[in-house]
Assembly symmetry: C2
Homo-oligomer: 352 residues x 2
């Protein structure tokens, strides 16, 4: 039996650790890599640090998410946070909780994704930890980054435009497609369309990829921060309604967004409409878009738009910041109403 087909209970912790360490490339800036009590790295004088985890049963399931894509996403969600501060990811630690029945091959595929995403982003995996879980996999990544000019959540002023990058709602539509049986393989290719016909497969793939393998606009974020083109910014992870309220709270302002201006992902919109859903709900509350939410001086919007195009991205002004207590209002044909946060709360049952 090869190592990859053994379960962790069969292979043991040390064999798995040796296997993983053998895969980690040597990287510049790493004075002491994995294997000693701690890693020693070149960084500073100001560093960014963030931590985020993917929990099986909460953020993914092994049935619906290929291991390689779980690895990619575990790093991507942290890269998104560092980028949203205007920084560049440099070093990551990976703490894994693994049930004993998982195979070394599954963990190896997870590392395929982690290492591939790390290489794409110029990040070195410098340490980690393995522990047994009773049930379910947890991938907990802490990412260190070089700070440039900081892009904070505070700083938005009344009159600034509320701007988002990319499109919204595709990742949330991806969750629904997974529930309906649509699947990607380890390489992100369509494995099953679920209840969907082949004619919609391009849209299905796009939404599944948005969910399983998000691509935050790192370089654009860095570039906007460096040039001081945004007054405030954060990444869109919990959904626009939740995250914009957060930005308002940090900046001490309110915001009004215009429903007709929301860049609803067209593929997600088509699939959502076909199944009787409301695409705007996905875009407002869906979450996991990993795009940027920015406060931009109206006079700078065109410059940011041009800059985004250099990186193959689009930006969309969706409203304005206004004077007032932190709150978000939604304007549509019928008028203006308070938009309550509809994002995810980990501990509250849905509907509570």
């Amino acid at each position: 039996m090869t190592l990859l087909s053994q379960t962790l209970a069969e292979a043991g912790e040390r064999a798995l650790l040796r296997h993983i360490r053998g895969r980690l490339p040597v990287t510049a800036g790493v004075k002491v890599g994995p294997g000693d009590d701690a890693a020693a790295i070149e960084i500073g004088p100001i560093a960014l640090v963030t931590t985020d985890s993917l929990v099986e049963g909460v953020h993914f399931t092994r049935e619906t998410a290929p291991a390689r894509l779980v690895g990619r996403k575990a790093l991507s969600v942290n890269l998104s946070d560092v980028a949203a501060m205007g920084g560049i990811g440099r070093y990551a630690t990976v703490s894994l909780l693994l049930p004993p029945e998982v195979t070394v091959g599954w963990v190896d595929a997870l590392y395929d994704g982690l290492l591939e995403r790390a290489a794409e982003a110029g990040v070195a995996i410098v340490g980690g930890n393995l522990a047994r879980s009773r049930e379910g996999v947890v991938v907990d990544v802490t990412l260190l980054g070089d700070a440039g000019r900081l892009l904070l959540r505070s700083g938005a002023r009344p009159g600034d435009r509320v701007v988002v990058t990319g499109t919204l709602g595709a990742a949330a539509e991806g969750v629904r497609l997974l529930q309906e049986g649509a699947r990607l393989d380890e390489d992100g290719r369509l494995l099953a369309t679920g209840v969907w016909t082949e004619s919609s497969s391009a849209a299905v793939v796009a939404c599944l990829r948005a969910q399983l393998d998000p691509r935050p606009p790192f370089a654009l974020a860095r570039s906007i921060a460096e040039r001081g083109l945004a007054r405030a910014g954060m990444d869109l992870s919990d959904g626009l309604s939740t995250d914009l309220l957060e930005l308002c709270a940090h900046s001490g302002v309110a915001a009004v967004i215009d429903r007709s201006m929301l860049p609803v992902d067209p593929k997600a919109a088509g699939l959502a409409r076909a199944s009787g859903g409301d695409p705007f709900e996905l875009a407002l509350h869906g979450g996991e878009d990993y795009q940027l939410l920015l406060a931009i001086d109206p006079e700078e919007v065109e410059e940011v738009r041009e800059l985004a195009r250099v990186f193959g991205a689009e930006i969309t002004p969706v409203g304005s910041f206004v004077d007032g207590e932190p709150a978000v209002s939604l304007r549509d044909a019928s008028g203006e109403r308070l938009l309550l946060p509809g994002g995810h709360d980990h501990f509250r049952p849905l509907g509570a």
Copy 2:
């Protein structure tokens, strides 16, 4: 109902986050603290980074370990790693997995311990993450530290003495006492002796504290590293037999230790003997001592001993490094035999 008596399902993620953030003190070196996409900290040019987690059901149970002590230990095990590299802990992130039935009060007590230990060690908690777990609490800490003169696992030479700090075996005896019903309260005072009589309560308390609230010799480690008094070193977390083999493997040497020289913790030895156990087994394989394992030039041993006394600690030479393939031998009255690693393997069932 007060917030502290609510479960996480009742209070919700945001209320818990607000509560935790409200408890974090402002600390020097932290440019941007928790609440933004990432923290921004002053560190470098060389930083240390390590990550270690406490998993309920593997490393502790909520029934036997008070929340405050779980918090203290979660930071201590990481401080031990940074100290064993010759560094000083500076910034920590705390990633928590929590089942929805846990109360805010339990998490608050966990933070009592984290914050208290952080204050003792001069560490700032700069970020974190909360996620729901289906079963059991996980406290995953990543610690960043300032590096001084590095103390690596490589560098031990034939002829160097194998030296340990403190005593060995008390933490392992503590596990057995917990299984037998002995308990500490949140403040580390004896709550129940289990099957033990009051006459042994000082020993019971000492072993329970060694297990639930370890105190690695940070300052001594730093001081030894700074003065270049050790050729190699690491912390003792998996047990002497396992960790010494690891040091041998990194240094490309073998080691011979002398059973009669092992600093078996006298309180643990008394309790172990009283219950028919072998104190030497605890000291060789028990683990979780969080003392230092060092390779020291024979001519430097007395200087290290004097230095240790300054910090109220003792050191004990327990053997020597010798030429040979990485291996550890144990010498006793009956001769010399190979000592196999008896430490913990997370994924293998006991006895496999």
